[in-house]
Structures are given as C-alpha cells and as structure tokens.
Amino acid sequence: MFEIFEYDFMQRAFIAGILIATLASISGTFIVLKRYSLMSETLAHSALVGVAVGLVAGFNPLWMAVIVAIIAAWIIEYLRTEFSLYSDAILSILLSGSLAIAIIIVSLGGAFNNSLFSYLFGSILSVSSEDVVTIMIFGSISLMLLVTFSKELYFIAYDEEVAKTSGIRVKLLNFLLVTVVAIIIALSIRVVGSLLIGALMVIPTVSALQYRVGFLNTILISLFIALFSVVAGMTLSFYFSLPSGATIVLCVIIIFITSLIINKK
C-alpha cells in the first residue's frame, strides 16, 4: 500500500500537491464569491507566457510564471477598476492574448516539446526539489496574507461598497488578492497543469457552497475536498499510470456531483 512513498518523486509530488490543494482551495473561496472564477483560467494561461520565456531564455520557468501571472493579475484589476469594461470580457481577452503570446514565444524559440506539455497538463514526475522549495516559500507567504486579511476579503466579497464605506481599503486588498491568486496559480501549474488548475481553485468551493454553511465551515469543507481530491488523484494516477492533473480534476468533479445530489433541495 505504501510503496507509493518509497519513490522520492512521489514524496515531492505529495508535498507539492498538498500545499497546492490548501492554497488553491482557500484562495479559490474568495475568487468564487467575488464571481472571479474565470480569473483562475486567465492567470493560468498568463503563467504559460512566463513558462515559455523561462524555457526559451533559460530562466527558471516556475519563477517566470509567478512574475508574469502577477503582472497579468494587475493588468486585469487595473482594467476592471479604471475602465468600464465587463470583467468576464477582460478575462477572456487576456486569456486568448496570453496563450497566443506563449505559443509564439515557444515556437520562435523552438521549445515546442515535452517540457511545455508538462506545464499544460501537469506532471508529478517533473516536480523537482527546487520546485518544492519554491512552492513552500511563495506558498507560505501567500497563505499568511490570505489568513491575515481573510475577514476583510470576505467582507469585500460580500459587498464591496459597504466594505469601502466601512473604511476597508478595498482597492489595495483587491490587488493583494489577485496577486496572491496569481502566485498560487503559477505555483500550481507544475502539478495540476495550466489547463486544469482552474478546476482545483473553483470546484472545491462551489461544492462546499452546496452544503449551505457559514464562511469558516465553507472554507474548511472546500479545503477538505481539495486535499482529498489531490491525494486520491495522485494515488490513482500512480497505480493506474494516469496523468496526475486530469485524474485530480476528475476526482474533484466526482465530489462536486456528489455534493450536488446530497444537497438537492
């Protein structure tokens, strides 16, 4: 049963996976409540631009993904607040725009190979010790920020204007949230893949919402669902030689459907 942990790469994958499940589900609660679900998809594609630059120019792709995702998050938030554009339209434009840039960079640099695919679909085999350390450092900073400002972010998600008139620095905290989300997504693409990370951010929260419980319990249920899906998905992918990201996403979708059925009014 525990032969799975005899391999170093599986140990690293589990550590990375558990960290990412925690980060994605907690930050996901805020973005789902803010109706920002699509943002995770857009940032995941922006992170690919960073990966492309990293692969072509020889920098660490994960670090570059973090940097580019943060820049994209800021552009989205700036466009949303300063121009009267529809949020979902902005997200859609940036999503295809960044994917286009990523493809062009990779194709010009001749890096269209397996290592790019591992970022698209996630690959537990490819998680290095260096990656685990990067995820730990950025992940703990992100988690600390989320926990510190969770009450404020929850209030903003509930009613942005009332939060503002209560003296909460809404603009600053919105930037903080999208920055943290950008970091978490960039870190996640190694394990879950950029095409699939959106699912891990959004579905645990949407499933948890079906139980109609308070804020704290919603976060806890969402966290539990994400952790369970990642552990189950990785174990299944190990024993049945399935791609890790896709298996994790299917696990979380099964939990979502179950939650829907259990809580049907």
Binding site: K151, S166, F215
Partner: protein
C-alpha cells in the same frame, strides 16, 4: 434641532453632479447634525441614492465640497462612525455562505487592528447589535434562508456593530412586509432617541415615519429642505440659516 455652532456630521456646499453632460444634482447645500433624524424623499431618478453615494465617497462630485466631521472625504478616516445600509441590502445572494453572525461580525472588521483577532469588546458589540435588532435567536441561521424583514434587521445589526454615530439607510423597506415595516420605524425612532444615533433615511414612503422625523429633505435634482415637517414652520428662516432656498412642506402624513 441642529445647533448652529456645532461641526455638522455632513457639510455639503454647492454640490453638482453631472454624468455625461446630464445634471443629476445641482447646487445642493445641506448640513446634517449629530442627533438628527432626517428623511430624504424624492421621486425615483431624482438623485437621492446618488447624493448618499457622494456623501460616502463612493462617487466624486463634479463640483462643490463635502465634509465629514469637518474633514474632506479623502482625509476622513473614522468610517466606523458611519453605518451604511444600501438599497439592495435585503436582496442578498442566497448562496452566499454567511450565517447571521458572520454578517454582523463584518461590522467590526474595520475596527480591528492588523493581525488582531476578535477581542472581547468586538464580541460584545456583535452581541449587543444582535440583541438590539432582535435577531440573537437567528445567530446561526444562514442569511439566505431569512425573510426580507429579518434580513433587513441583520443588515442594520451589521451597521450597528461598529457603534456608529450615524446610520444611513437607503430604501431599506424594499421587499419587506407592512408589519415588519412598522416595527422597523419604531426601532429607528428608538435608536435615535435612546441610543442618540443620528439617522438619515431615504424613502419614497414618508407617511409612515413623519411623526418621528426631525427634518425632511426633498431631492429632485435640487434640494428642498424643510426643518419641521410636523408643524407649520417658516422655512424662510431656515433658508437664511442654511443658505439654501427652502420651500415649506406640510405634514406629509396626509398624503398617503
């Protein structure tokens, strides 16, 4: 009644607000003092909500000045003194994961200092606000499952939790039944008299509260102020006092 020398909570002078060349509000000047009970009435689209949004810094005036407690909005920091219940308050998203207590606790968020958890004082304030609004028994209920009247009380409890000096309510009776409305007006009057909370109330239904209110502002692009809607009072005197053109408004109770 307002005392002339005191610093008003809101001090608005020559306020203009235009959107794409359209005049929404024109040369509005008014003051709201501590302890007052003010009703703002006017037709839909007359600019009532816009005025409140300007007063709270949610929108920026085209011209004129707004001061809160003698300070310009951008320099004003003591937002916990102001409790705001917006128009859509009782129309909460049914799926939002919040218990009644979760919502009321939000009222304390701006008072917390960095990294500090809820103190005893915070917990007491949340408890008091729920007691005042008679929703303590609903504490653990999900907000989405409550009736319109109950939700309205939750929203006000949230505003009260920061121990505000002024409560601003924008059409809070949207989607609330008549019985709840009556209790609600009684409660507002009580908050004003006993808790000394200044109340600014926006409504189109002035008949019900006319007995309690101290002053009445009508907003229809311009402001008309009547300082005593219950008695026949010389508004010309008030025009002089506030520097605004005021028209006499009789007891509106009979109009409904």
């Amino acid at each position: 009644m307002p005392i002339k020398f005191k610093v008003p909570i809101f001090d608005v002078k020559n306020l203009d607000f235009r959107v794409r060349g359209l005049n929404i509000l024109t040369s509005i000047s008014l003051e709201i003092f501590n302890g007052e009970y003010v009703a703002i009435i006017g037709p839909n689209g007359g600019g009532k909500t816009t005025l409140i949004r300007l007063l709270l810094g949610l929108q920026t005036p085209t011209k004129g000045s707004i001061k809160l407690y003698g300070k310009k909005i951008k320099n004003f920091k003591e937002w916990y003194k102001i409790g705001y219940v917006p128009q859509r308050a009782s129309l909460v998203d049914e799926n939002f994961p919040a218990t009644v207590e979760d919502i009321v606790k939000m009222g304390r968020v701006s008072k917390r200092t960095f990294l500090r958890a809820m103190s005893k004082e915070d917990k007491n304030a949340v408890q008091d606000a729920m007691v005042k609004m008679d929703i303590l028994n609903l504490k653990n209920k999900m907000v989405g499952t409550l009736s319109g009247g109950q939700r309205q009380r939750v929203m006000i409890a949230r505003a009260l939790a920061s121990n505000p000096e002024i409560l601003i309510l924008d059409e809070p009776n949207t989607g609330v039944d008549m019985v709840s409305q009556k209790n609600f007006y009684a409660l507002l009057a009580k908050l004003n008299k006993e808790e000394k909370i200044t109340i600014v109330f926006i409504t189109h239904d002035i008949g019900v509260i006319a007995d309690d209110i101290g002053r009445l502002f009508t907003i229809n692009q311009k402001a008309t102020i009547c300082n005593n809607p219950k008695e026949t009072l010389s508004c010309e005197d008030m025009s002089e006092l506030y520097g605004i053109e005021a028209h006499l408004i009789h007891n509106h109770k009979h109009e409904h």
